[in-house]
Symmetry: C3
Subunit: 158 residues, 3 copies
């Protein structure tokens, strides 16, 4: 089943694109690699293990992942142009002594596997950080490989 | 206008290359991607929102960006060999509760757009971190795409 | 001398692969780039400059580096398929005011140079972070370039 078909089956509607918080663009394509800028998620603000529970952190990671899918579709026209998710970085604002950082970032990783199947499985690094832009609890970024022949390079849209 | 011409027009003189702080090299080229090591900037030490103001943080980011341009020129011979800036990571040592991390990293991003124009616009992730090497306030790294035919791969210089 | 021969000469036996701490895979190959997931090292838990000394942090970084070599061999069949180490990220959980982060990450970088020689020299970013998964003191990730013709893409093993 295609990624767009899976999205529909799962009843997932991707959110609108968030405005950039600074002087950057949401993605840059180079050859068949698409580099996506880090995404947080509006309303998911706080520190996991302190002002937020693990479950709230996972929801923040999933929401950030949805924002990444929104940008991926904007870059490529369709999620079906994704060959595979190559690498994910997950940054978690967390309490001192909070070590369940991987479980938080699974909120995004699980989403990618739901949508892309095995092609959504990725190399990943998860880190607990001090503060995130706008006070976000979680920020996620990724590199995606694009299928041969899929168009939509951002540079052409500038 | 070429990037080197813009630099001259802006009156920017790139600093000398800083020595590496550890057992690494300042860049590694692979195909037409140039991976640059993270750069801080000497004299820009502290914590933004605590011992440094936002403006001082932005100056630190710009200075780190200049150090990246120095290394880019060293790698490629000329900044005119840059096709585009693909991705930037900005790490900011900041106070608890400081959320203007994107505005700090703009100090580097604005520089890249000044010098390269639209080709300097990049996917970016900005994170507030606990501590940086040598006590730097800001560290910035980037991946740059190299124009077809541009030489200067580091591996050949070893 | 080949990397595998150097390993034998150095008397290094690579550890068994650690299980993933979340919903991710230890590596994803794209073309001739191998993206490795971040690795900590079991038993190397704490905060450098606080509950751990610099030397203990360096040992943690070296152990994380060994885990990366284990995964590199698993991905490619042999370390001799490595053309060069392109980029390394080192994340160090450290005390407030601890600035010797590069010296800690050298624990991994030195290992890569011992094993691969000049081909092991890499662009690097080292950052002091707040918390790491499972309480690890150090986490290290890398991107490796693969020699032409070397097989073993993970996607084929799924």
């Amino acid at each position: 089943m295609s990624a767009e078909a899976r999205l529909r089956e799962l009843g997932i509607h991707l959110p609108d694109a968030r405005p950039a918080a600074g002087n950057y663009i949401p993605f840059r394509r180079h050859g068949d690699l698409l580099f996506l800028a880090g995404q947080g998620a509006d309303g998911h603000v706080g520190r996991v293990g302190d002002t937020m529970t693990l479950e709230e952190g996972q929801a923040a990671a999933r929401a950030a992942g949805l924002n990444l899918l929104t940008q991926t579709r904007a870059a490529l026209g369709t999620l079906d142009a994704v060959e595979e998710v190559v690498r994910v970085h997950g940054w978690v604002s967390c309490a001192d002594g909070f070590t369940q950082i991987p479980a938080v970032v699974n909120g995004a990783s699980d989403l990618f596997v739901e949508v892309f199947g095995d092609a959504g499985r990725h190399a990943r690094t998860a880190v607990g950080v001090w503060m995130l832009p706008l006070g976000f609890a979680v920020e996620v970024e990724m590199i995606v490989a694009v299928r041969d022949g899929a168009g939509g390079a951002y540079r052409h849209a500038l």
